[in-house]
Each structure stands twice: as structure tokens, then as C-alpha cells.
């Protein structure tokens, strides 16, 4: 069992607040990813859980046990560092058995645990080597092995893949996902890479400036971002944003007048009093249709296109100067400088109020 509960957690460094009140539950066997731009406090939050930083206020409890002021050694957590942090003077075997040796575990048990971890991570032939004789990916696996042998309640990962090259990162990402299934372990993982967050997580925690912006499954965040920050942060290419004002609101939805030069009726539940207030319409690149100039909802001028083979990302600019990206499946002709017409899928549009909070969709009538 490993149920972590964080309540009103705050952390400041010399009067400067870094974590500004976090409430979060991590359930047993869950893969939770903290994601956010650099400086958002995600690493600090992980280090607070690990016990490497002292909490300013709030509580952390693990399986109903308050561990807020417990030393890292007694929390029963294992951590994998961005820099691997292997002990350079010890062999791979010693690196992995160090924690067990400290805990005075019997020789045979240590032996079998190290061998088991080495088997899972395919480190067998490297056991007698020193860290400096290993490649980056191998070092990373040793660091993970060091965590596995301890059989901790929760694995903590602090940007473990960011020092690896792109190809290795993809491979290690798959290995981590497999490891999570194989070990049936609880894992907390910090990254600034939203692709890692989307592919690995059961639950993504989006952080910004020391606060949680949204917690949810990857697809929940993708399809129902709670605010502008999450909408812009999750998804590549980024969601496009168009400024506008609400021109009409009733039971059937609300009409938005976009600065880009069109009116669109969205199935969103806006109050009648909201008429006239500024809003932001968000639309994912794959939900925009391209047609001839004048035939769509509004016209745009095409900028450069990025052709990836499977998709073409066509960058365009509206008449009001707002940039949009359109994802077109397959190849698409180069349209640089041309005038294009765009259509928006009203059901797929997101709408955010002046504070950046999402305006919720209309309740669908039960079929």
C-alpha cells in the first residue's frame, strides 16, 4: 500500500514562496506526473515529498502516517535523480546494494535482490563495473535499479530522462512505462516535457508558479483543460487562441464575435449577463478545417508549413494578427503567402473567460 496525502503544503526560501499551498492525493499503484514550466516548483514539491527540503507549513502523510518531519531515510521512498547521482567509487553491484547494506539486510537477501533488479533492467553483465565505465542510459538504469532493490513505497523520479539524447529518451520512456506495470509500483515523476507526462501518467498534475493548475488523466487535460494555462501547455503543436467577445448568450449556447472577423455559436453555458465580456476561444490544430479563401468562417494568410510526412503543420495568421497552427493529415501543398479560408468545429472549441477559466459546456440532454 502507498497512499500519499498532501495537505496545504507551503514552502518558501528566504521569504520567497515557491510552493503556495498544494493539496494532492497520490493513490496506490498510480503513476503521477508533475509537469510545468521551469521554476514552477515541481522539483521542489518532489524534494519536499522526499524529505530533502524542510516544509514551511502543511502536512504530508503516507498511509495515514504523518511523515512531514520525518528524515528522508525513514520515509521508505526511493529517488532517481536527474544526474543519476551514482556513487562513483562503488561498482554497479555496490551502488545497488548500498541501501540494503546500511539497513543491515542479510547477505543472501541482498544478493538475490540485486540480481533480481539486474535481471529486470538487463544490468547483469555490468554489475562489477564502476559508473564511469557506463553510458548515460546504463547509468540511468543503475539509478533505477538502486531504487528497485529497496522495494520502496513510492518511487520518485526527478527529470530522469532529460540528460539522455532524444532516441534513448524514447526508449527509456517505454522501459519506465513497462517497469511501472511490471512492479505494480506507485511512482511520482517530475518533468518539464509534456510528451513524457502524456505518455507515462495515469494522473497528470500541472503546476505553475507554485500552484496546481489542474489534476487529471492525460486525455482529460487534453480535451477539457480547466484554464488557459493548461490549454496552452498541454498538446503539441500548441492550441490556437482567438480573442473575442460574447455577443449573445441563451439556453442554446453563446455566440462569440471573434476579432479575426466572424461570429460563431458555441455550445457553452454562458450567463446572459456575460454578454459583452471579453473571452478567448481555444482550438486545437487538428480541429481546424482548411478551404478556399472566402468559403470558410474567416480568412487567414498562410505562413510557412512544416511537412512531417504523416502531418503537415500549416502556420497561419488571422486578419487581426493572431497566429494559428493547423494540423492537416498527410502532405499538403506549400501555400506560403496565400489567402486561405478556415472552418472551426464548434463542438471542439474551448472557451475561456476574462480570468482564463474555462466556460463549461452545455449539459447534453440525456438520450
Amino acid at each position: 500500500m502507498a497512499d500519499l496525502k498532501i495537505r496545504d503544503l507551503k514552502k518558501g526560501f528566504e521569504g520567497h514562496a515557491v510552493i503556495k499551498g498544494i493539496d494532492l492525493d497520490v493513490n496506490d499503484r498510480e503513476f503521477v506526473v508533475f509537469v510545468g514550466p521551469s521554476g514552477c516548483g515541481k522539483s521542489t514539491l518532489l524534494r519536499l515529498i522526499a524529505g530533502l527540503e524542510e516544509v514551511t507549513s502543511g502536512t504530508i502523510s503516507l498511509d495515514e502516517r504523518d511523515i512531514t518531519d520525518e528524515s528522508p531515510a525513514r520515509r521508505d521512498l526511493a529517488m532517481v535523480f536527474q544526474t543519476y547521482a551514482l556513487y562513483p567509487h562503488m561498482t554497479v553491484r555496490k551502488n545497488m546494494s548500498f541501501a540494503l547494506d546500511l539497513a543491515k539486510v542479510g547477505k543472501q537477501e541482498v544478493e538475490s535482490k540485486v540480481n533480481e533488479a539486474a535481471r529486470i533492467l538487463e544490468l547483469g553483465p555490468l554489475l562489477e563495473r564502476k559508473p564511469k565505465q557506463l553510458s548515460g542510459g546504463q547509468r540511468q538504469r543503475v539509478a533505477i535499479g538502486r531504487a528497485i532493490v529497496r522495494n520502496p513505497k513510492i518511487f520518485l523520479f526527478d527529470e530522469p530522462l532529460s540528460n539522455l539524447d532524444a532516441a534513448l529518451r524514447v526508449q527509456m520512456r517505454l522501459e519506465l512505462a513497462r517497469l511501472h506495470k511490471e512492479l505494480k509500483a506507485t511512482m511520482i515523476y517530475v518533468t518539464h516535457d509534456q510528451v513524457e507526462a502524456m505518455t507515462l501518467a495515469d494522473k497528470v498534475v500541472v503546476l505553475s508558479a507554485g500552484r496546481i493548475e489542474q489534476v487529471g488523466s492525460p486525455l482529460e487535460l487534453y480535451h477539457h483543460p480547466a484554464n488557459l494555462f493548461v490549454a496552452g501547455f498541454i498538446g503539441t503543436p500548441k492550441m490556437g487562441f482567438l480573442k473575442g467577445t460574447i455577443s449573445r448568450a441563451d439556453a442554446s449556447g453563446c455566440e462569440v464575435e471573434l476579432e479575426a472577423g466572424c461570429r460563431i455559436i458555441l455550445p457553452r453555458a454562458a450567463e446572459a449577463s456575460a454578454v459583452g465580456t471579453p473571452v478567448t476561444l481555444g482550438i486545437r490544430p487538428e480541429h481546424i478545417g482548411v478551404t478556399d479563401a472566402g468559403a470558410g468562417s474567416f480568412d487567414v494568410t498562410a505562413d510557412v508549413s512544416e511537412r512531417l510526412g504523416s502531418d503537415t503543420f500549416c502556420h497561419v495568421r488571422t486578419t487581426s494578427g493572431e497566429p494559428l497552427t493547423i494540423r492537416i493529415p498527410g502532405d499538403f501543398r506549400d501555400v506560403y503567402g496565400e489567402c486561405l479560408g478556415l472552418t472551426l468545429d464548434a463542438d471542439r472549441c474551448h472557451l475561456f473567460d476574462a480570468e482564463g477559466q474555462a466556460i463549461r459546456p452545455l449539459m447534453r440532454q440525456a438520450a
Binding site: A50, L52, A73, Y84, A85, L86, Y87, A99, L102
Partner: protein
């Protein structure tokens, strides 16, 4: 016209020549000291200086007979080792806390420690002499061990601090996560990683203690006197005993020179092989 290859060869020959000249210049006084130690007093005093003479061991025998070299050497060894060990016991924890748990006062503390080295030692001679007398520690090795430790501590802390600074914090944090206590963290992870740095600190401390003369001359007479005091006892204002003075100096320098020479290779090895990254 010289070709490029020839120019280079001339250059390197020239640099080699200059290097040899400087090395010989530095080495000459030591060479002359050793040479003089095998001369009779009359040969040593001869003018012009003699390079060819009948070597003799009389000076060394005389020193052993009159003073007992081994007793002084033993004092030097125990004082240097004792002070170095005592120094490490303070310097390692101090450097650890400053390198890995710095506060906004750490920089100031480091500079303040160094500033104590700027005080002329003779300025505190009287208080220290009186303190030693009060505690009954005049002419005792303990007094010298404590004083040498205090003198060298700032340098030891600084050196070890610089080595510790280069060690990634993550490694120590990993040890903490693995369940290590602070002591285990230092003994089982930090010290093995920084053994090259610790070794050079130890070497420097041993050399400084071995060569220290001011306090050993002022606080010891016979019981605890180290080799520096032995040398001083042979230097007379009239300068009559050049050969004996050279012999006793050679005896005093030899152990530390040999020690430094042997450990030099170890040090270079330790520094490069123990590298963290």
C-alpha cells in the same frame, strides 16, 4: 631560412634550456647543503669553495652522539601526525557543513578564518606562552600539536571545502535517501569520493607542521623539541660550524622530501582517478 619544423625544434630546445637553468638554480642550495654536510669544518669554510674533497661522515656521527637525532625525528613525526589527524577531525565536519549546508554567513566565516592567518604569530607569543605555562604544557608535544592544529586549520578547511564544493549534492542526497545517517554519508560516500583532495590536504598539513620553527623554538627546550629546534641549536652567531649545520639540516629535510616525493605520484593518481565526473 629555417623551416617551420626547425624553428619549432629551436624553440623547444630554448625552453628546455631555460627550464633546466631555473631548476638548477632552485636545486643548488640543497645540493650545496648536502655536499657541505660531507666536508670537514675546514673544507666547508674554505675559500674559494671546494668541489673536490675527501668526504667524511664525521658530522653525522657527531650529531648523533651529541644530540640523538632519532629523538628529535620522533617528536617531529608525532607532532606532525597528531596535529594533522586532529586538524582533519575538525576540518572535515566544518567543510562538510559549509559546502553542503551553507548559510548566508558561510562566506564570511571562511574569510574570517583566513584572516586569522594574517596576524603575526609573535603578536600572540606572550599570551600563548603564559597559557602553556599555566596548563603545564611547556616543552610538551601536546602544546605543539594543539597550536599547529589551530594554525593550519583555516588552510585545511579551505582546501577540503574547495574539494567538497566540486562534489554534486545529488550524490549525498542519494545516500540520504538510501538511509545513510550524516556520519555514514560522510564516511562511506563523501570521504571515499574526495580521497585525492583529503590526501593533498594531509600532505600539506604534514609539511607545514614539519617545517614550523617559530613555536617549536619558543615552547620547547629538550623533551618535545622537533627537528627544527635541533637545526637551530647548531646555528651559532659566529657561523663556525657550517658542515655540522648542513648535516643536521640535511637530516631534518630528508624525511619530508622523500615522503613528498613518494606521495606526489599517489596524489596525482588520486586526484585524476578519484574524479567525480
Amino acid at each position: 631560412m629555417l623551416t617551420l619544423k626547425q624553428t619549432r625544434r629551436v624553440h623547444s630546445a630554448l625552453i628546455g634550456l631555460i627550464a633546466w637553468a631555473i631548476a638548477l638554480l632552485l636545486f643548488f642550495p640543497i645540493f650545496w647543503m648536502v655536499l657541505t654536510s660531507f666536508k670537514t669544518e675546514i673544507d666547508a669554510f674554505a675559500s674559494p669553495p671546494q668541489f673536490i674533497f675527501h668526504p667524511t661522515l664525521d658530522n653525522y656521527l657527531h650529531i648523533q652522539e651529541r644530540s640523538g637525532y632519532l629523538r628529535f625525528a620522533w617528536n617531529s613525526i608525532t607532532i606532525a601526525l597528531g596535529s594533522t589527524v586532529l586538524g582533519l577531525l575538525f576540518a572535515i565536519p566544518a567543510a562538510y557543513s559549509m559546502a553542503f549546508h551553507p548559510t548566508h554567513r558561510t562566506k564570511g566565516t571562511l574569510l574570517w578564518m583566513l584572516s586569522t592567518k594574517m596576524l603575526p604569530p609573535v603578536g600572540v607569543l606572550v599570551p600563548i606562552y603564559l597559557l602553556a605555562k599555566q596548563f603545564g604544557l611547556l616543552d610538551s608535544r601536546i602544546a605543539l600539536i594543539v597550536i599547529y592544529t589551530l594554525i593550519n586549520l583555516p588552510i585545511m578547511v579551505w582546501m577540503i571545502y574547495t574539494y567538497f564544493k566540486d562534489i554534486p549534492r545529488d550524490i549525498l542526497e542519494a545516500a540520504r535517501m538510501d538511509g545513510a545517517s550524516t556520519l555514514q554519508e560522510i564516511v562511506r560516500v563523501l570521504l571515499p569520493i574526495s580521497k585525492g583532495g583529503i590526501a593533498s590536504t594531509v600532505l600539506l598539513s604534514l609539511i607545514l607542521c614539519w617545517n614550523e620553527a617559530f613555536w617549536s623554538l619558543n615552547l620547547t627546550s629538550s623533551q618535545a623539541a622537533p627537528l627544527t629546534a635541533l637545526i637551530a641549536s647548531y646555528s651559532s652567531p659566529e657561523g663556525l660550524f657550517w658542515a655540522k649545520l648542513s648535516a643536521v639540516s640535511t637530516l631534518a629535510c630528508a624525511p619530508i622530501v622523500i615522503f613528498g616525493w613518494i606521495s606526489q605520484k599517489q596524489l596525482v593518481r588520486g586526484l585524476s582517478f578519484g574524479a567525480v565526473k
